[in-house]
């Protein structure tokens, strides 16, 4: 693989960066900018692929999960968001704990291993609402992992309860919280936040809260919402500060770049990122974030076609079956609201990768043998080899 790459990159504008990648050296901000500025996306992609295959081989992860958006009320009302509502809006909603438990009723039937729970910043729900939600779900679905509440929601709960985020995290963990999703990071830079989410916690607070969770042994993910008003440098600084935090705590499981969907938001004048920008962002993040094990292609926002292509550009995770995502769809996403596991497996196989169903913390639940390869070889063997392979 590496010799092939050298064959291609000799006298290439990125050959010195290629050298660093092959040697496993850490890339600088300037390297990141050069990678972004290059129009040779195949070269950038194949560099990212070196790191991706070093970390995950040919394996591509996916999870069988369900999303629950428990409320669309939100005191932040960020300009970037098409989902949030004021309390008196006719379509404002808040699900009761019973409704949440009932809405999750298909998780066992579908073999889902995770509930992914995020919502708006409700003006006055007490902490007990969230802890009851978790304990009721845990009681009804004891084997399902609860990945719930972005650090933005956790910081909001701390403010409402007038306590520390650590106190909140302890209570949530006691009620059944398994891990924390990576949302609300957007772009950490203050200039950007003042435009796209002026009332949201600062980048520093986001990182502080994530650090507090990691210190308690609660793993989390990290996202980056891009393709609105930010510069390339602001994206890279976002990645670099995550890399520093990860050096410190090791608590991030995956990085998830999220392409901005402008429809119905107050930033609708932004066109949103193009496909090439999406692939570069996946690839550059794979290259910059040398201490993150996984880069996730969130197909809900990328579209299944581009998410599949991104498996050759550094991504090693196709996320989940999702079922009923509301937030991106409020912003005009025309992707389906769920994909069946067979569809995700088909996309992974067609890209020549080996699908592996994972749990939330990247343990392999079931590995499908063999990678598929194009139409000539058909679907290949779909036999699922049950294998417990906790890495």
């Amino acid at each position: 693989m590496q010799s092939e790459l050298l064959w291609r990159l000799k006298s290439h504008e990125l050959s010195d960066i290629a050298e660093k990648v092959i040697e496993g050296e850490r890339l600088s901000l300037h390297d990141g900018i050069r990678l972004y500025r290059s129009h040779d996306i195949a070269a950038v992609g194949s560099l990212a692929n070196i790191v991706r295959e070093r970390k995950s081989g040919n394996r591509t992860y996916y999870i069988v999960n369900r999303h629950i958006n428990y409320t669309n009320l939100c005191v932040n009302r960020c300009p970037l968001c098409a989902f949030s509502r004021d309390r008196d809006a006719p379509d404002a909603y808040t699900l009761s704990v019973d409704e949440i438990v009932d809405a999750s009723g298909d998780v066992e039937r579908n073999g889902a291993t995770e509930l992914h729970i995020v919502g708006g910043l409700h003006p006055d729900l007490p902490l007990s609402y969230y802890t009851h939600m978790l304990s009721a779900l845990k009681e009804r679905y004891p084997t399902v992992h609860l990945q719930a509440f972005t650090v933005v929601e956790i910081a909001h709960m701390a403010r409402i309860e007038r306590t520390t985020v650590t106190g909140i995290l302890r209570r949530l963990r006691g009620a059944g919280l398994g891990s924390i999703p990576g949302g609300g990071a957007e772009i950490f830079g203050a200039r950007v936040r003042s435009i796209i989410c002026p009332r949201k916690i600062s980048g520093e607070e986001w990182l502080e809260t994530a650090r507090a969770a990691h210190l308690l042994g609660i793993k989390s993910n990290a996202t980056m919402l891009y393709g609105h008003v930010e510069t390339i440098e602001e994206r890279l600084l976002h990645m670099l500060v995550l890399r520093e935090t990860q050096d410190e705590t090791g608590g991030f499981m995956s990085f998830i770049p999220l392409p901005f969907h402008p429809a119905n938001t107050r930033l609708a004048m932004c066109p949103g990122p193009t496909g090439i920008d999406d692939l570069k962002t996946i690839a550059v993040s794979r290259l910059m974030l040398d201490n993150f094990d996984h880069i996730k292609a969130f197909w809900i926002m990328l579209g299944p076609k581009l998410a599949q292509v991104s498996l050759a550009f550094g991504a090693d995770d196709m996320d989940g079956t999702v079922a009923e995502e509301r937030i991106t769809h409020a912003a005009g996403a025309r992707t389906p609201q769920r994909l069946a596991p067979e569809e995700i497996v088909g996309l992974i196989r067609e890209a020549g990768r080996e699908p592996a169903q994972r749990d939330t913390v990247y343990g392999v639940v079931s590995q499908r043998s063999g990678a598929g390869s194009g139409a000539s070889t058909g679907c290949g063997g779909m036999c699922a080899v049950q294998k417990k392979d906790r890495r």
Binding site: G45, S46, K305, Q308, A312, G346, G352
Partner: protein, 362 residues
């Protein structure tokens, strides 16, 4: 003995022609970035300037009545279906006027194989347009021309001659699907044969009528069938030089008689790259954002395509199969620019359009 995939790619980079076996071997390369970078290098040889073209046109489907009733098609209707239609001359002219008002330069007209409309009807249609408007008429794919000849009891040469006289400029390369008869027997048994498609194109080219060529893949065909398709196109191009561009796209399964899963972006980009690498005598390869969406459509520009196709202010056939994307000229130019190319509006011969103010492009 077949070379290793890397050797085959190096051969292509050196400008050598690939054999059918070598083309077929490329389908077993899963390193998408590698195929993309070779296709990109080959594109640069054909187009040393960093330009990507697009056309402002309209796809007018004059009727959805079709006796061919192909399994992969969601657009066709029987003559007595409640939603069967044939556009009136007035509707046709109105659509062309709308197109001209947004700077359109050509009209693409294709329709079903109507059992009753005769050659005079089509000749009058083309003549009526050319007499009223300064617009390029790109119309009637080979299955339509073959069908006209059959209804008329005359030769394909005669049909082409009459249409050319009426003002037909160029012919779209639709209906090629996969130019392997065993595949056509399964997906489009009543459509013109692979041999008829090729010989109609040969005849058109010999009369100075330029055409495009297409390939619809991702259904029941094998990769060997795809390469056989490309071989036939390459061979005819050697002979006539009459193809202006090659346009591969993927089968869209919605509402069709083929209950298959559509192939993904990976398979599309891989096949596109192989088309660019294999078709050494075709200068233009078109990306299909209509079937792939704007994102993968744009990525295709770095996988061998040098043209982003049409703004498609109207498209009905792919939409009937459940896929609907739309695109403005401004968005098209943004995508091209963001991919690192200069966007240039072209005509049907892939030449820059000189606007009324005299400047090139928009």
């Amino acid at each position: 003995m077949t070379l290793s995939p890397d050797r085959i790619l190096e051969k292509a980079l050196d400008g050598e022609r690939l054999s059918v076996d070598e083309g077929d071997a490329l389908f077993r390369v899963d390193d998408l970035a590698k195929l993309g970078s070779v296709a990109e290098a080959v594109r640069q040889k054909h187009h040393p300037n960093p330009i990507v073209t697009y056309v402002v046109d309209r796809n007018i489907n004059y009727t959805n009545v079709c006796v061919s009733r192909c399994l992969f098609c969601a657009f066709h209707r029987d003559l007595d279906a409640p939603d069967a239609y044939v556009l009136s001359r007035e509707e046709l002219f109105q659509k062309i006027e709308e197109l001209l008002s947004v700077g359109g330069t050509q009209v693409l007209m294709q329709g079903g194989l109507h059992p009753e409309l005769r050659l005079d009807y089509y000749c009058e249609m083309v003549h009526g347009i050319k007499e009223r408007y300064a617009i390029h008429v790109h119309a009637f794919s080979p299955p339509e021309i073959v069908h006209f000849a059959r209804l008329e009891g005359t030769t394909i040469g005669e049909v082409l001659h009459r249409l050319q006289e009426a003002g037909l400029d160029t012919i779209p390369g639709g209906g090629a699907e996969i130019l392997v008869q065993s595949v056509r027997d399964r997906i489009s048994p009543r459509k013109c044969t692979a041999e008829q498609w090729i010989s109609m194109m040969r005849q058109a080219h010999s009369m100075g009528i330029r055409t495009t060529a297409t390939m619809m893949f991702g259904h029941v065909e094998t990769c060997a069938d795809r390469i056989e398709h490309l071989r036939k196109v390459r061979e005819l191009q050697d002979e006539t030089g009459g193809f202006t561009a090659f346009i591969p796209w993927t089968f869209q399964p919605g509402n069709t008689g083929l209950p298959l899963r559509s192939v993904g972006g990976h398979e599309y980009l891989k096949t596109l790259a192989i088309c660019r690498i294999f078709l050494d005598n075709l200068s233009n390869i078109q990306a299909s954002w209509v079937t792939q969406g704007a994102k993968v459509g744009q990525v295709a520009l770095r996988f061998g395509a040098n043209d982003l196709g049409s703004t498609m202010i109207e498209e009905n056939v792919v939409r009937a199969a459940g896929t609907q994307f739309s695109m403005t000229v401004a968005e098209m130019r943004r995508l091209i620019g963001d991919a690192g190319f200069e966007p240039v509006q072209r005509d049907c011969y892939y030449e820059p359009v000189v606007t009324r103010s005299g400047s090139v492009g928009c």
